[in-house]
């Protein structure tokens, strides 16, 4: 990783024409309330063979800036000031038809969500060939060969067969490779990659980033990388531009920005985004020798499919998973998507039946509970969902949402006492009284997740399940939520079951870890052991894929 950086730093000295040069760019959106300026006077340039990362949190203007650079601002967006030049040509006021010929030829786009960016009714090969057809860039008879060449170039195995497949037959990582192949088809000097890996697993993320690294080294393509992940930017980009509120906070080489940041905001971002180098302050509670664990899962197996009338093939999502969690500690289930971690958690919360095995919560067999006994169990185990936008009823005020569990169980003596209790829970998660009558859509993502936590803790459950509870949030918000959870655990002696794909976060908050793959346990142990000396290749691969290795 350090070799290409040295190479490109060297090439910068000779100052070739930058593939992208943005000067004093300000972009605004026109709406009912007048013009709203979202970026202010942003300048940067991308040299051939260089990766420049635009880093910032949601609302920082990083995507808007990238969209303005390729003239793909959403409706209502307009460039207020500044200029954009591609390969030295000023394209700020270029016509729509000029832009159509520039896109694809001079600048390629790698979108964020590979799942939704390929036409599901088209074969992979046809999707890529479209770029050639639109620009009439290759004669028809050699088109198929060019497509196979490109697929091979982006590292897909058996490219000739892949070209004949449909998107649903490919994994997320393969789709992203296909999209990269489409973006580089006409050999553009500049690639714009908008969060190219945020929808992918961490191991796949590393391979995609390595592919982008190869491309710029071998073809001299300049890459504008838009990401929220400062550590990822530090690993792969030559230079980093940190944005906040549409303004440049800091610009410099990755070494300087990550190693010796000058801006206060960059320092906060670095502090809030844990990496493997971040020191762990957690002091684990040591359970007594004869203490019964809060949760004991043994040999849990969950199957999907089968069916009574129409039989579908049986799919085993969880296969013989077992772990125990002592009171007041945190256990993490980690693994890539499809590893069965969420299914396990849902079985623990009695939202999902099991084929065999047992789940014992405070001495009760969860899987055997039905009806009112299962309902009573909900007082002991609560779940916080990944998506705070979907887990709150859009019609309820947040106070109503938090009040509901108390009403359901008829806790407290009177309606006013319940109300006080709910207000206290909301205040515990730092939501001021002014917000209590708002509806979820009027709150930010972090505030919504606080509401979801308040609703979960208002019943004083023994076990709290956090299903990727912070992965949809910005790093600074994530850090706040994690602090809140840590405080709550120490105050109330709560037990946590954490599900996460983010091993850097897991390392900070968990006492014990189970690594899952394809529904089976790969490795299990204390967090310190697993991270210090992983025994399995899969675990090593997961840990090695955590961004932030380049600038510890």
């Amino acid at each position: 990783m350090s070799a290409p950086q040295a190479a490109s730093t060297g090439s910068q000295a000779s100052a070739p024409t930058p593939v992208l040069d943005v000067r004093g760019l300000s972009v605004g959106y026109g709406g009912r309330g007048g013009l709203h300026q979202v970026t202010h006077d942003i300048s940067f340039s991308v040299a051939p063979g260089e990766i420049l990362a635009l880093v910032g949190e949601s609302g920082s203007g990083k995507t808007t800036t990238a969209q303005a650079a390729i003239n793909l601002l959403p409706q209502g967006g307009q460039v207020l000031a500044g200029s954009v030049a591609l390969d030295g040509e000023d394209v700020t006021d270029a016509s729509a038809s000029r832009w159509r010929s520039l896109r694809g030829r001079r600048v390629g786009l790698v979108p964020q969500d590979p799942g939704g960016s390929l036409d599901p009714t088209k074969r992979i090969g046809d999707s890529i060939a479209e770029a050639f057809r639109i620009h009439r860039a290759a004669p028809r008879r050699i088109l198929a060969d060019r497509v196979v060449e490109l697929l091979e170039r982006v590292g897909l195995d058996d490219p000739a067969r892949r070209a004949k497949q449909y998107p649903h037959e490919l994994s997320g990582g393969m789709k992203q490779r296909v999209l990269i192949a489409g973006a580089i088809a006409l050999g553009p000097g500049l690639l714009i990659a908008d969060e190219p890996t945020s929808a992918l697993d961490v191991t796949v993320q590393r391979r995609i980033m390595e592919l982008l690294d190869d491309l710029r080294r071998e073809s001299g393509t300049g890459i504008l990388l838009v990401t929220h992940d400062l550590a990822l930017a530090g690993d792969h980009a030559d230079r980093v531009l940190v944005l906040q509120g549409g303004r440049v906070q800091e610009e410099g080489t990755s070494d300087v920005v990550l190693g010796n940041p000058t801006a206060e905001y960059t320092r906060r971002l670095l502090a809030d985004a844990p990496t493997l180098a971040t020191p762990v302050h957690r002091v684990a509670r040591t359970p007594e020798a004869d203490e019964a664990p809060v949760l004991a899962v043994t040999d849990l197996t969950v199957e999907f499919g089968g069916g009574f009338l129409v039989r579908t093939p049986v799919f085993r999502a969880v296969d013989g998973v077992g772990f125990t969690i002592p009171r007041g500690t945190t256990h993490a289930l980690v693994g890539e998507s499809g590893s069965g971690k969420t299914t396990t958690a849902r079985a623990v919360a009695a939202f999902q039946g099991a084929a065999s095995g047992s789940v014992t919560l405070l001495g009760q067999d969860v899987l055997a509970l039905r009806g009112s006994a299962r309902r009573a169990l909900r007082r002991q185990v609560q779940l916080v969902y990944q998506n705070p936008f979907g887990s709150l009823d859009p019609r309820q005020t947040i106070l109503e949402s938090v009040l509901e569990p108390l009403t359901n169980f008829g806790l407290e003596a009177s309606a006013s006492a319940r109300r006080e209790h709910a207000v206290a829970a909301l205040e515990r998660v730092s939501l001021p009284a002014a917000l209590h009558q708002r509806r979820p859509r009027e709150l930010s993502g972090g505030q919504r997740q606080r509401v979801a936590i308040a609703r979960a803790i208002v019943l004083h459950p023994e076990l709290l399940i956090l299903d990727e509870a912070t992965s949809a949030l910005d790093v600074t918000v994530q850090a706040e939520i994690l602090r809140l959870l840590d405080d709550l655990q120490r105050e109330r002696g709560m037990t946590y079951l954490v599900i996460s794909h983010d091993l850097a976060v897991v390392r900070q908050i968990a006492d014990t870890v189970t690594v899952l793959r394809h529904g089976r346990t790969v490795e299990q142990g204390t967090t310190a052991e697993i991270f210090a000396s992983p025994q399995q290749d899969y675990t090593r691969d997961l840990i090695a894929s955590i961004p932030g290795g380049a600038h510890p």
Binding site: R32, A349, F351, R378, R379, L392, R395, N408
Partner: protein, 295 residues
Amino acid sequence: MTLELQRTALLPADGAAPQGRAPARARRRAPRVTVLLAVAVLVIVVAWALVPQLFTSQDPLAGVPADALQGPSAAHWFGTDPTGRDLFSRVVHGARYSLTGGVVAVEVGLVAGTAIGVIAGSIGTIVDEILMRVVDVLLSIPGLLLSLSVIILLGFGTTNAAIAVGVTSVAAFARLSRSEVVRVRRSDYVEAAFGSGGRWGGVLLRHVLPNSLTPVLALAALQFGTAILAISTLGFLGYGAPPPTPEWGLLISEGRSHLATSWWLTTLPGVVVVAVVLSANRLSGAISQARAARS
């Protein structure tokens, strides 16, 4: 018969933000004017049905033979029919039959259809399969044919015609409410509500129904217009109210034999029917849009 129409009307409007500021304001104003117009038409027609004597002093049933078949004039706004009855008065008094017919038809469809849809959607499994296959059978019978069959079973008359029309819309209400209930039932917040110790019925009432019934209301407004049209069709065919009744479909039917000489006998009641149907459509669209804007 109107399923395609309903589907397009119920789709949420594209959230495309208009480009400039001035045209945006104009475009936003324009739909509001048509919605106001639609509400005005419906309010007037409802007033006709409630207090017809405020709008016309003429008798809808007794005619003056000397005034037969006169064209629209200051004395007779809509002209007169072959027996010299004032047509405007007949249209005003007829509003009662058409509107109550529309309300009854929508009620039948809304209550029966939504009940089927909510039961199928919230219970699922084999109950869902059986109910939905029954609905499929209902959908496969052409609407007019179905209402004619029902009316032959029930006997002629205004109310029976309305019930017959309502039966044809049961399937549409059932489908829509089922799909909405299924969509909401799968959402995280419904599972979270069960997780907070909610009971099945409580969660259904507090979370699933409020979040799934707005499009059903939009469909009800749309069906109101369609039902008036269908009831008029039945009246025109002679299955509705018996002759002296000034029901709108019957008025058009009676005017048919004088189409060549007295255009107003068919055209003006027809225009009223069209205005009411379009107004109900517009209102239905406005409900859908308001819902799309909120989510």
